[in-house]
């Protein structure tokens, strides 16, 4: 989805800052526009400011500085109940003293909707999440996944254009989580709503989002679609945070626009793509995905620098082999090879040579 133009902005954070104690900034100069119909995920470790951003958008926290706009209208002074934003909470926040039906009718009731309209909408929302038979149950009588569906239905029943989700799947087990990811995504596509989703689970973010904003230390480190984020991380933090990653520290020997030659601490030379490199002799951290490492000479691009590796451990993981090696003095360099017929089996103690395409190794800022 192509979304960065200003007139497409449905939600807009304009130079937003937030401090709780007046001494440190939790959110530092946030600029972010979200298009109508987009599924945007705020991803980051705990304490990175992502939840604070969501709470400011929902109206439960006030921005210390800057402006938040919804559909072009500044909403800093608008109380939460007038923003018309649906929200799904981490613990679901289903009202324990009301039945499922009453929970869903609540947002319609406070909007003064008549009883028959209310019942029709509640029934439709329950059917939407396949929970039609549960209207008279209490939330405590439902399983985690069912509560999750009800929370989702409640956030959608009053037809909000924007829905916020704060780690909604955090409490579910792995299988259910994956299933719910799929359902939420399907609902998003079907209803055409805008979703802002907060999570610290990168797998979840990669699966569901149109774009991901990676948060760290109160700033957006990178804002990009999932594939770009994974394959072309902008800095070491993003490279480390998304997926598994090998990192080799070194010094820039030579570089131009397309290619950089990096000398590692142990003296070997490797090829990489310069990302945020400014000068020769600069410290860098080269990041390579484990599945992009090659050890069969016929697969290596011609003329590439090779580097010696000692195999330390080979783990059979079913679909792949995960091989841990000593490379340039570091003992946690990982290579992943597909478990195919005729795959050459490596054994611990073996010495091999590895290489990679220069595009797959990214020379980033040292952390």
């Amino acid at each position: 989805m192509n979304v960065s133009t200003a007139d497409a902005a449905f939600v807009e954070f304009d130079r937003v800052q937030k401090s709780y104690d007046g001494e440190t900034l939790v959110v530092k100069d946030l600029n972010l526009t979200i298009a109508k119909g987009e599924f945007l995920t705020m991803l980051g470790p705990s304490g990175s400011g992502k939840t604070t951003c969501l709470m400011m958008l929902a109206g439960f926290e006030t921005a210390t500085h800057g402006e938040i706009k919804l559909a072009g209208r500044p909403i800093n002074q608008v109380p939460p109940h007038k923003r018309g934003i649906g929200m799904v909470f981490q613990n679901y926040a289903l009202f324990p003293h009301m039945s499922v039906g009453e929970n869903l009718a609540f947002p319609l009731e406070v909007r003064g909707m008549g009883k028959s309209d209310r019942e029709a909408k509640v029934a439709r929302a329950l059917d939407m999440v396949q929970m039609g038979a549960f209207a008279n149950r209490r939330p405590a009588q439902l399983s985690g996944g069912q509560q999750q569906r009800i929370a989702l239905a409640r956030a959608l029943v009053f037809d909000p254009e924007l829905v916020l989700m704060d780690e909604p799947l955090g409490a579910l087990d792995k299988q259910l989580r994956e299933h719910m990811q799929f359902e939420i995504k399907a609902l998003h596509d079907r209803l055409g709503i805008t979703v802002v989703y907060v999570t610290h689970d990168q797998g979840e973010a990669l699966t569901m989002s149109d774009r991901i904003a990676v948060f760290n230390d109160g700033r957006i480190q990178q804002l990009a679609p999932p594939a770009e984020l994974y394959e072309r991380p902008n800095n070491s933090f993003v490279a480390q945070f998304i997926g598994e990653n090998n990192k080799l520290p070194g010094i820039i020997e030579e570089f131009d626009d397309k290619k950089a030659l990096v000398r590692l601490a142990t003296g070997e030379l490797i090829d990489a793509t310069p990302v945020n490199i400014r000068a020769k002799g600069q410290q860098t951290l080269v990041s390579i995905r484990p599945e992009r490492v090659e050890f069969k000479p016929e697969m290596m691009p011609p003329g590439i620098h090779r580097i010696g590796a000692d195999v330390l451990e080979v783990v059979y993981m079913g679909d792949i082999f995960r091989t841990r090696m000593r490379v340039a003095g570091s003992e946690d360099f990982v290579m992943k090879c597909r478990n195919t017929i005729g795959q050459r089996k490596l054994t611990p103690g073996e010495r091999i040579e590895i290489a990679w395409h220069a595009e797959d190794a990214r020379a980033l800022d040292p952390m």
Partner: protein
């Protein structure tokens, strides 16, 4: 111990589940748990003994006194026998007077005539001296005893006196309960309302219930915001404030009550301040003590922690995301409070209200010190009958009625709200 296999080990014999070696499952379970049960019982035996000796037995004895008083029947056997043989309303004949004089003489000899007089005096005031003076002269009385006694004091012929003596001739009697309910028996043994100037207990019961309800309501209004503040503050701060809430608990009740006396009296802190500020004139100082106002103010303060603590314990675990969810769903802050927050605190409100109400229904020391005449509660009258009038039976009857009232309220609460909704901490 019997091992119960889970897979294929259990069998069915005559419809009963059995263990692997054929014992009935229930029996095996009881056997397996018996040792643990005996050990657990041993641990609570000291507590059980303590409760039985210091609590159950004395209270049982006291309650027994409310229906049993043998002050007359034990010391006046002959006249009691005469009452047994005749029926209510029979005029006393010479034999009755002879039995009466013989009993009085014997009681005077045994120095128990005072007890007899006191017992009759409970039912008909001004009669104690009748018995004691008769006791002093019993030696000199000669037949015919009727004339002799009437010469001594004409009241001996009073049918009401004979009616009362008939009613106390049995050790067991419901008369104390009748008295506690402002009822009495006439000379024929029928239950009638007590004379208007004697009807004080019903009024006091009503006042006790009304003041307790009022104090409970005031405590709730004052405690709710405090408990909410404690519940939403960070733990370090709320613990500090909690100490302030608990501080009164660590101060003697007497000290707290007397400090309210310092505050409230006519020349006290509050009145002096108001006079100094010119809010009230020096002549029109406000009476805040030795009346109901004093009782209400001091008891509300003293019982406040009992309301705050259960409320706090219910509010603390309520996740703030409930109210946030309500707000995000379009509810104003008032609607969110009324529809989402308040219902979730009901168990705390119920517990706190029940605690404060029950405590205030039986409160004694504070009303005694600051209540004056109009601020006295039923417990003050119970204390009066325990300590001053020494009519323990009436005190026990009043206490039993109070206990019954509280139990009825508890039962009502259970029916209306459900006791399992109660959360005391």
């Amino acid at each position: 111990m019997v091992a119960i296999e889970t897979s294929g080990g259990e069998g069915l014999r005559g419809g009963l589940l059995t263990t692997a070696d054929g014992k009935p499952l229930k029996q095996a379970l009881a056997h397996a748990q018996a040792r643990a049960r005996r050990k657990a019982l041993l641990l609570v035996v000291p507590l059980l003994a303590f409760i039985v000796i210091t609590f159950v037995v004395p209270i049982g004895q006291l309650l027994f006194r409310s229906i049993h008083n043998d002050g007359f029947s034990a010391n006046m056997p002959q006249i009691s026998a005469w009452f047994d043989e005749t029926k209510a309303g029979d005029a006393p004949d010479e034999a009755a007077y002879a039995a009466l004089v013989a009993d009085i003489a014997a009681a005077a000899e045994a120095r128990t005539i005072g007890v007899v007089g006191t017992r009759v005096n409970y039912e008909l005031s001004g009669t104690r001296s009748l018995f004691t003076s008769a006791g002093r002269n019993a030696e000199d009385l000669e037949p015919p005893y009727r004339e002799a006694l009437l010469d001594l004091n004409a009241k001996w012929g009073d049918p009401q006196l004979w009616g009362v003596m008939r009613s106390v001739s049995s050790a067991y009697s419901a008369n104390f309960y009748l008295a506690a309910l402002d009822l009495a028996r006439d000379e024929n043994g029928d239950i009638v309302r007590a004379p208007e100037d004697r009807r004080i207990y019903g009024m006091l019961f009503m006042r006790t219930l009304w003041l307790s309800a009022l104090i409970t309501g005031l405590c709730l209004i004052l405690a709710y915001p405090v408990a909410h503040l404690l519940a939403v503050l960070p733990l370090a701060k709320s613990n500090l404030l909690m100490i302030l809430v608990l501080l009164p608990f660590w101060t003697s009740l007497l000290v707290r009550t007397t400090s309210w006396m310092v505050m409230l009296q006519e020349q006290g802190v509050i009145n002096n301040t108001m006079v100094a500020l010119g809010l009230v004139g020096n002549e029109s100082r406000i009476q805040m003590m030795y009346n109901q106002a004093g009782t209400i103010i001091a008891m509300t303060h003293i019982l406040l922690p009992f309301m705050i603590l259960p409320l706090y314990s219910v509010m603390r675990p309520i996740n703030p995301s409930y109210v946030r969810a309500a707000r995000s769903l379009g509810a104003t802050s008032w609607t969110a409070f009324r529809r989402v927050y308040l219902p979730q605190t009901l168990p705390g409100i119920g517990a706190g209200a029940l605690l404060v109400f029950i405590l205030s229904v039986g409160y004694y020391i504070t009303p005694a010190l600051v209540g004056g005449a109009s601020g006295q509660l039923i417990s003050n009258l119970i204390a009066y009958h325990m300590q001053d009038s020494l009519n323990w039976s009436l005190a026990a009857a009043l206490a039993a009625l109070l206990l019954a009232g509280v139990l009825i309220l508890y039962w009502l609460y259970d029916r209306l709200i459900g006791i399992d909704n109660l959360k005391l901490g």
